[in-house]
């Protein structure tokens, strides 16, 4: 059973009179102790999906379930206690911490809010949390601005660990950090995931790190998941043309002078996605059904899924499949 399950999630934003569909039916699941990477380029909706996954943003369709219970969007009331074990780490370590409170106080606040630890034991737990993320004990008496980006991100992670989470959603946690800090933080996350049986949903545009760190990867394009599967398999043999292009576009530092593959065209405006398969105008393999019907994400064996007519077959066979299911 997955700890976190997103099924056919749809998220709409209302902006200046128009509605933008940032996520148009995406399904991802994260099991206990599993590291799932969600990759995609700007505008694909992955950050929105991350926020919907924890309830920061309401969904307009589909369902989000955590440990069997529905994830309700945040209202003015306190978030239900059952959801406390589902937490989020933000991208920007400079704005996700309160600049006016010491680190120790913020961690203690988290413990106080959660009310999991009696008052006398809180100081000790704060020290434990710092240790878990590799911060020195002196950190508790300092303000966030006294730390580097990488350390601030650790503090943010420590804060979520106060809730003893079973799933952690991380929205581009490495993007604001330099290369060294990225490596260190990535290692720390993997270590925590393995040690604490913590499921991670890692949203990132950095394919190389996701490839190194994730057990399974989902590829997102213009609001939909186009491919999903075990990381190694997806890398070695991408089943969706966009995944293929995305992976091919990552330049390799092997001195070969080989240019990465280019993907012509531009990402379409999310308010007016192309008919049929959203990727088809830029797809080198597009054929008749692609411009007509949007392909569903179907399982293709060995835990792999792809949303591509090439893999599923023609429109008629899809109709047959549907009919079979109904009957």
């Amino acid at each position: 059973m997955s700890a976190l399950e997103l099924r056919d999630v749809v998220v709409d934003y209302h902006r200046r009179g128009t509605t933008v569909r940032a996520v148009a039916g995406a399904s991802v699941s994260v099991g206990a102790g599993q590291i799932v990477g969600l990759v995609g380029e700007s505008g694909c909706g992955k950050s929105t999906l991350a926020r919907a996954a924890v309830g920061l943003v309401p969904t307009s369709g589909g369902s989000v379930t955590f440990e069997g219970r529905p994830v309700t969007p945040l209202s003015r009331k306190a978030r239900p206690r059952e959801l406390a074990r589902l937490q989020l780490v933000f991208q920007n370590p400079y704005s996700s911490l309160n600049p006016r409170r010491k680190v120790g106080a913020q961690l203690a606040d988290a413990l106080a809010t959660l009310d999991l630890v009696p008052r006398q034991a809180r100081a000790a737990r704060v020290r434990e949390l710092c240790e878990l993320v590799g911060l020195p004990p002196s950190a508790v008496d300092r303000y966030p601005h006294e730390f580097s980006g990488g350390q601030r991100q650790r503090i943010a992670v420590a804060r979520t660990l106060a809730a003893d989470p079973s799933v952690l959603v991380l929205d581009e946690p490495l993007a604001s950090l330099d290369a060294s800090a990225q490596a260190q933080l990535a290692n720390m996350l993997v270590d925590l995931a393995r040690r604490l049986e913590l499921g991670l949903l890692l949203i990132s545009h950095d394919l190389a790190i996701v490839r190194h760190v994730a057990d399974a990867v989902s590829v997102m394009y213009l609001g939909t998941i186009v491919e999903q599967g075990p990381t190694r398999a997806v890398w070695e043999e991408p089943l969706h043309p966009y995944s293929e292009k995305l992976i091919g576009a990552v330049p390799r530092a092997d001195g070969s002078g080989v240019l990465p593959t280019a993907l012509p065209g531009e990402v379409p405006d999310p308010t007016a996605p192309p008919p049929g398969c959203r990727f088809h105008p830029r797809c080198p393999y597009a054929f008749e059904p692609c411009g007509v019907d949007e392909p569903p994400l179907v399982p293709l064996g060995a835990g792999r899924e792809a949303a591509c007519w090439l893999r599923i077959g023609s429109k008629t066979s899809r109709e047959e499949t549907t009919r079979r299911v109904v009957w």
């Binding site: 380029e41 394919l207 190389a208 490839r211 530092a253 001195g255 002078g257 990465p260």
Partner: protein, 334 residues
């Protein structure tokens, strides 16, 4: 560039940002300059164009097309810099003027430096947009920067840079802010421009993958000095400086075993005010010997076109792709 030195005033004293850098860029080649932030790679380029802030002190020599740029009077420098040397910056959102139409930005530049009349300038602008593969050039001319995506803006910035047919294009982290597929497109563009126009490109980046894809020769910067340089294939496949090695090792390796931690270089690059004596990298280097802390290693030729600033030279005979590493342990950053 010969023994270029740049120091900038900060907090009452002068900090040496660039400390004796030399290299050569040939026409029609892509010269990659790699290094982490703060290594002096951008500042060395700004010195070339006379774009350094007030109070900067510059030493050494920078010759473009045979002419010494560093002590040239400002007006003359601007003529040459504007026409023969162009620069493209990292942030596609700020390298274009937000209030002027694309057409205006392209034609103004051309008219100023080449003295073309309006019609001819417009034709040239359309030609440039075609060259950088912006679809529907006429509509684009009337549009404003905010109406384009990041990748398109960068292409337009390149078009503006190419307007006067420069001989040298300096691209400072041109793709860092872009998505990977968009980046691939820009790299293809730079490669094509170089081949079709005999354009020399200095490509500044911290991304070794980008350098590997497009550069002919590379130089690695650390703390204001060049530590290694040479043909791209040689340097990236068989790096000899411990820092270069460490950088390459820190990249997520496609063939690494699952759950093997990413290798990070211990410590952090020194800030300009606190550069260690002797070889700037020695505190983080696993192969440092006693003399490394005393003497600044000179950049010397070691084989063919390769140059190295490391008297220890621990990887002199290492096979390409060997597993001799610099650091495996990681420190929490302080």
């Amino acid at each position: 560039m010969d023994d270029l030195r740049v120091s900038l005033p900060a907090g009452g004293r002068d900090l040496t940002i660039v400390d004796g850098v030399d290299y050569r860029v040939e026409p029609g080649e892509v010269f990659g300059v790699a290094g982490e932030s703060g290594s002096g790679k951008t500042v060395s380029m700004l010195a070339l164009l006379g774009l350094l802030p007030e109070g900067a002190r510059v030493g050494g020599s920078v010759r473009f097309d045979g002419r010494e740029l560093l002590r040239m009077p400002r007006r003359r420098l601007r003529e040459i810099a504007g026409r023969d040397v162009a620069m493209v910056f990292q942030d596609p959102f700020t390298s274009l003027h937000p209030m002027l139409s694309i057409g205006k930005q392209l034609t103004e530049h051309v008219r100023r430096h080449l003295g073309l009349d309006r019609r001819r300038a417009e034709e040239r602008a359309l030609e440039l947009l075609r060259e950088v593969r912006i679809p529907d050039g006429r509509a684009a001319m009337r549009a404003y920067p905010h109406q384009f995506s990041g990748g398109m803006r960068q292409r337009i910035a390149i078009a503006v840079a190419l307007a006067c047919r420069p001989k040298l294009l300096i691209a400072d982290e041109p793709t860092t802010a872009l998505d990977v597929t968009v980046q691939a497109g820009i790299l293809h563009l730079l490669d094509r421009l170089r081949r079709e126009n005999e354009l020399a490109i200095v490509l500044i980046t911290h991304d070794l993958g980008v350098m590997s894809a497009v550069a002919d020769r590379v130089s690695i910067f650390y703390a204001g000095r060049v530590v290694e340089s040479g043909p791209r294939a040689d340097v990236l496949r068989a790096p000899r400086h411990p820092y270069t090695r460490a950088l390459l090792e820190a990249l997520p390796h496609p063939e690494a075993a699952r759950d093997q931690p990413l290798v990070a270089i211990a410590g952090a690059p020194p800030s300009p005010g606190a550069i260690p004596a002797g070889c700037a990298f020695h505190p983080r280097c696993a192969f440092a010997v006693e003399s490394c802390a005393r003497e600044v290693p000179p950049l010397v030729p070691v084989a063919g076109d390769r140059r190295l600033a490391c008297p220890v030279d621990p990887f002199a005979h290492a096979e390409p792709g060997s597993s001799k590493t610099n650091q495996v342990r990681e420190f929490p950053d302080v």
